[in-house]
Point group: C2
Chain length 188, copies 2
């Protein structure tokens, strides 16, 4: 393994290790499913020492949580198109693209696995869900502030997000633009 000289800035090396480890986790989830690999296998694929992973994340579960939170929150900022119709269509299309992309099913499985993996996982799942719900709620609040009638965030979950999640989890893909728009039409 080619270790870089110790004089390199720690921030640069730390960020690089973080990205390599996140990528390794995403690949392993995609190949084997959630939970079917060890910290040692993550470290080997990322080209870092096991001890680097344990020092930074403490446990496999904490690492998985970090990956899920980072990927699912950072990758789709909420749209602000000026109308609820435009916002919801853009948002639904973004989510459809994200969950049908190469890492999408793995990230979905991870999010659900977190919710069912005991207290630490439940809390991580709660954080993830709370952050996304907050973002969605602010989109709906903007619509109400403009005087547009807006559905509840739970209605968006139940009738736009849930059908798309379940179809991806069942392998019923692709999600066509007509299908995704149809879910929004039905809700509005």
């Amino acid at each position: 393994m080619n270790e870089l000289p110790r004089t390199r800035r720690p921030g640069g090396r730390s960020a690089r290790v973080g990205a390599q480890v996140h990528q390794a986790v995403t690949e392993l989830i995609g190949e084997r499913g959630y939970g079917n690999f060890t910290v040692g296998e993550v470290a080997a694929r990322a080209g870092v020492a096991d001890s680097s992973v344990y020092r930074r994340w403490g446990s496999l579960e904490a690492l998985l949580t970090d990956v899920a939170l980072t990927r699912l929150n950072a990758r789709s900022p909420m749209p602000d198109t000026g109308s609820l119709d435009g916002d919801l269509r853009t948002y639904a299309a973004q989510v459809a693209r994200e969950i049908t992309g190469p890492d999408g099913p793995a990230l979905l499985h991870l999010a659900f696995a977190l919710s069912s993996s005991g207290q630490q996982g439940l809390l991580a799942g709660d954080d993830l869900r709370a952050e996304r719900t907050r973002q969605l709620q602010s989109m709906l609040d903007r619509a109400r502030d403009r005087g547009e009638p807006a559905p509840d965030a739970y209605d968006v979950l139940d009738h736009v997000l849930a059908p798309m999640y379940i179809r991806v989890l069942f392998g019923m893909v692709p999600l066509t633009p007509d299908y995704v728009d149809g879910l929004v039409d039905r809700l509005l």
Copy 2:
């Protein structure tokens, strides 16, 4: 381990081993999540030899598939109340009860894990889905035969089943009767 005499009818022993192994799998999924256990651990908990499991199921994946197919198909026969409204309400309440029961989340995770675990799992997931869709379709066909307007089976999946599945997967339980009836009302 108390092995029964060889003269015992093979059907009786075979059925007993099958039930013990199924129960062991369901418990292990509930405790550890899908994939976080081996054939050896299943066999130990069921009180049978590893070789019995391999001889009968061939692999852990085939065993998991068998458990999912058996449990999810056998446990909720489709209702036939004489009206679509009654059938859908009864069906939705059955599914809600099943997926929020002690084994429900484990079975849901298993069904989704199968869909993402390579070719054998995909086929098993397809079988499971095809069987349930066939049952649902025959309920909707009966309604149409009586002259009642009936939704598409996919609409039932998207707007009644998917929201319940996702709420259970996210730990957003219980599913109240009002909530479940509300999903059916909205669909009809």
